[in-house]
């Protein structure tokens, strides 16, 4: 850095630097799911579309979490989804309850009038763009898990979290799915289903991680073993500030 402000913590992690544009909280919200739909083949889920108005449609970071955790020993809660280029967020869940989401965008797109209100610290890039403002929360990353997916295998890791502070999971990387055809008897006739198994963020009572969950069924789809975007990927987990 030629000049300006740079903050690095004791772990060597850069927190503020006028050469780097931080992500800051743009908007947040919640939604509730009161019932699930039988998608067929005893797969239950609910799809939600969130219209989050962000400036940079290809830039946002989206984090999401369930508002409550499952009890110890109970099944994990799963959330799958993705962020479309038009900034809509598609979420699929397999548990009723309330879910909370946060959208972060690069600080250069945030309101300078809000950044200049109250008190605190603003940091600008050499070009005069807002790089950081203490008026906007940053995603506080407490863990990053990495893994890889191939059509036949799935490898990743989970991390332990504090029960009282449910982590937000990074939704952007949940774009993997594969489909398998199944048959079942329905009204005396055999019916074909295609079960789409989506990559999902998983919350248990004590850990967060990533897995594969059967979330959506398309009847009559003849594609099988449909696999997208295999390869190394990552999932970040952020703590809630408030």
């Amino acid at each position: 850095m030629a000049y300006g402000l740079s903050v690095t913590n004791s772990s060597g992690h850069t927190q503020i630097d006028q050469s780097f544009v931080n992500y800051s909280l743009k908007t947040s919200g919640s939604f509730s799911v009161s019932s699930l739909t039988n998608q067929g083949a005893d797969v239950y889920s609910r799809s939600i579309t969130i219209s989050a108005s962000v400036h940079g449609a290809t830039d946002p970071l989206v984090f999401i979490r369930p508002s409550t955790l499952p009890a110890v020993g109970a099944d994990s809660k799963h959330i799958a989804g993705w962020v479309n280029a038009n900034s809509d967020i598609r979420v699929q869940v397999d548990t009723v309850g309330t879910y909370q989401w946060q959208v972060y965008e690069k600080s250069t797109l945030t309101s300078t009038s809000t950044a200049n209100s109250g008190y605190g610290l603003n940091v600008y890039t050499a070009a005069g763009d807002l790089a950081f403002s203490s008026n906007y929360p940053n995603p506080a990353i407490f863990a990053i898990t990495q893994g890889f997916i191939t059509p036949s295998s799935f490898h990743t890791a989970s991390v332990t979290h504090g029960y009282s502070n449910i982590p937000y999971g990074f939704l952007n990387s949940c774009y993997f799915c594969q489909a398998d055809s199944h048959s079942e008897e329905s009204d005396g006739e055999e019916e074909e289903f295609t079960i789409i198994a989506a990559q999902s963020l998983n919350w248990s009572a004590t850990t967060v991680g990533v897995g594969i969950t059967e979330l959506e069924v398309e009847s009559g789809n003849t594609e099988s073993n449909w696999t997208l975007s295999s390869g190394l990927r990552f999932w970040a987990w952020a703590r809630a500030f408030n």
Binding site: N9, N22, L61, V83, A85, Y104, P139, L232, A236, N242
Partner: protein, 88 residues
């Protein structure tokens, strides 16, 4: 906080603590690939920079992304939009 930096907004809510790791915007890449293409992005590495594909299976994206030193490799077939993020 034992030492260091702690910032709050005007309402008194904590927005940054010395122990935090945070996210930084690096770049957005978009285009169409058929096969493999390498895109030069100065200052990135697999250790610090992460790539996410925008869109989902409804868009039928058949593209994979690999981050290397000062480069992003995009492989597959089709249009892509990639967000590069640095988590400190």
């Amino acid at each position: 906080m034992a030492y260091g930096l702690q910032l709050r907004d005007a309402a008194g809510n904590l927005t940054l603590d010395i122990s935090d790791r945070v996210g930084f915007f690096v770049a957005t890449l978009s285009g169409t690939v058929s096969g493999t293409t390498n895109i030069t992005v100065a200052g990135i590495s697999a250790a610090t920079t992460y790539a996410t594909l925008m869109g989902a299976f409804e868009d039928d994206i058949d593209v994979s992304v690999t981050v290397g030193t000062n480069t992003v490799q995009v492989a597959g077939t089709g249009a892509y939009k990639i967000n590069l993020v640095r988590f400190s």
